[in-house]
Each structure stands twice: as C-alpha cells, then as structure tokens.
Symmetry: C2
Amino acid sequence: MEFVSILLSSAHRLLHPQLAVLITVRGRDGKANVMTAAWCMPVSHRPPLVCVSIAPKRFTHRLIVESGEFAINIPSLEMLKIVDLCGTCSGAQVNKFKKFNLPTVEAKVINAPIISSCIAFIECKVVNSVKAGDHTLFIGKIVAAYTRGNIFDKIYMLDKCKLPLHLGGDMYTTCHGVYRP
Amino acid sequence: MEFVSILLSSAHRLLHPQLAVLITVRGRDGKANVMTAAWCMPVSHRPPLVCVSIAPKRFTHRLIVESGEFAINIPSLEMLKIVDLCGTCSGAQVNKFKKFNLPTVEAKVINAPIISSCIAFIECKVVNSVKAGDHTLFIGKIVAAYTRGNIFDKIYMLDKCKLPLHLGGDMYTTCHGVYRP
C-alpha cells in the first residue's frame, strides 16, 4: 500500500485522539479561569509529574505563571458542550464559570477552584516550564488526585464513565472496549 | 457524590487512555531499535513540535541522544501483540525487529527505520530535551509525516483504522464514534 504525505501543519492530529481536559487555575488577584486542553499527559512516575502545553496568549497561561499551580479536571463525554465552549472563548473577557453555569468547589491542596461536575481531578504544582515553539510546557508535580464516585481502579472502569477524546476541530470520540494482547 | 482519593503513584492513569505508538531510532553505530511509548503528544503548531517522554534507562533514550532523531510509528489495534511485546523487552539485549519479524523500510528524511505495517508515521528531529523526574522529554520538530493508504483527512477516518489506546498495564481500548458538541 502507498504512503500518503500529510501536511506538516496537520501532522500533529496523527497523535490524536487526546483526552480533553479542563484546566482550572486562580491568579494572584483571586481571579480564576478554566480552559480546555488536549495536550496534557503524564511524564514521570517518581515523582509523579504531568505536562500540559499552553499557548502564552491564553489567559490561563498568565494565571499559571502567577500562581505556580493548576488543576486538571477530567470531564465526562456528557459535558462535551462545556468542553467545547471552554476552549473557544477567553477568560480575560468573560467569567466562564458564571457564563456556563459551572459548579465549583475548592481544590484540596492548591488554591484553585475545581469543576465538581467533572469525574476526576489532578492537582499540580509547577516544577518547571519550558518554551516549546508557540506553546509553553508546564511540568507539574501531582499533589492530590481523586475521582467523583468509584470509577477508577488503577485504570478507568469504562462501563462507569465515558471520556471525551479530541480528534480535531469540533470532533471528538470516546473509548470503547478493553483489549489485551 | 463523594470524592474518592487516588494514590499519587496511580494518578497518572487518570490521564490515560493515551495513544500507544512505536518509537524507532538508529544510533551512531548503525544499531536501530523500536520501543512502545504512550506518553507522546503534540506541543506546538508553529513550528510543529511533538514531545515524547522516555526513561534514561531505555536503550532508545541513548540512541535518540546519539542521533538527535526519531520516528513515531502509529500502529493499528491489530498490531496490539507487537505493541505490547516492544514495550516489555530491551533492544540492548535483542534485535526486536528480527525477533518480532517487523517489516521495515527507511524513513524519508531522518536516518532511521520505520515499521511499514504501521498506519501513520511522523519523523522528528530533536530540538530540545528536558529532564522531568525519572524521564526525559524529547521535543522533536516534525520533518515528515505520512500515512499508509487514505486513512486521514485532517483527522483519522475512524471507519478506516482502529487505534490502540493504552489504559494501563496490559489493558488497551480503542476509539469509537464521532461526537460533536
């Protein structure tokens, strides 16, 4: 079978689907924000570190630089409308929590709100940030992690939750079935 | 509903499923290797950059440091046995290409083999590497990208390919359906 060239500007989509998450943060002046991110992954076991890639133009970028903390909220597929909306407007202009009627509670360890309708939460303290092209990689140490209800036993129980995976643009998929080699 | 605490050592699995990919590379002495990786994502649009997290103890780590290049091979779900096997032994001891009978051809731009039974390929040149806990983040600039056959039109055509997504341990899932907000 033939190889088909892909434009370099579209090539990153070959690494999708990527789990869509909501990043919450609170800046120095007390103003909080939420944004959608799909470029977020674990990077280390000991210590447990994650990495999220955020463009400097994002309001969330400024708040993370200010606070040195952020929370990763993992939504369910049912929240897809919210996931999409939180990725398409800036918290510099609007209070997305109010505008989209998002239920929040305080995070356990860090100073930030979390979105309590999400299904899982990872609280992080920034240990390093690295410029990478038109984005910044924030490397965060996990300082707290919890789920809403029993949906996780070392891995997600896929019969108890549906995850939104970002394919590209406004298209998402979800995961289905468990396979073993 | 109640919040359930997750052990910090298991918390990274809350960011799975992650697309399982095969990293191929050729070292200075001509010796090539392949390893499975699930911690790999895009990090920048302009220039198009990706990031892969690899532990320094891995043979592939040494070869990437030597060569400054690597290829990301995206397998299909049908290759799950190979995906699992390439993550459970070291290329320092065995030639995994021979042992697992992997068909290879030369990459287009970089000096490395690619696994021609995979469905998509991203060739990268390392532009930065960053220590992150017990792993190294290799940030690579995409220098070539292509698929085998017509399976991608800005996003994967999910009716034409099945992707292996790593949940944890020896458990994988795949993606199913397209959702729009």
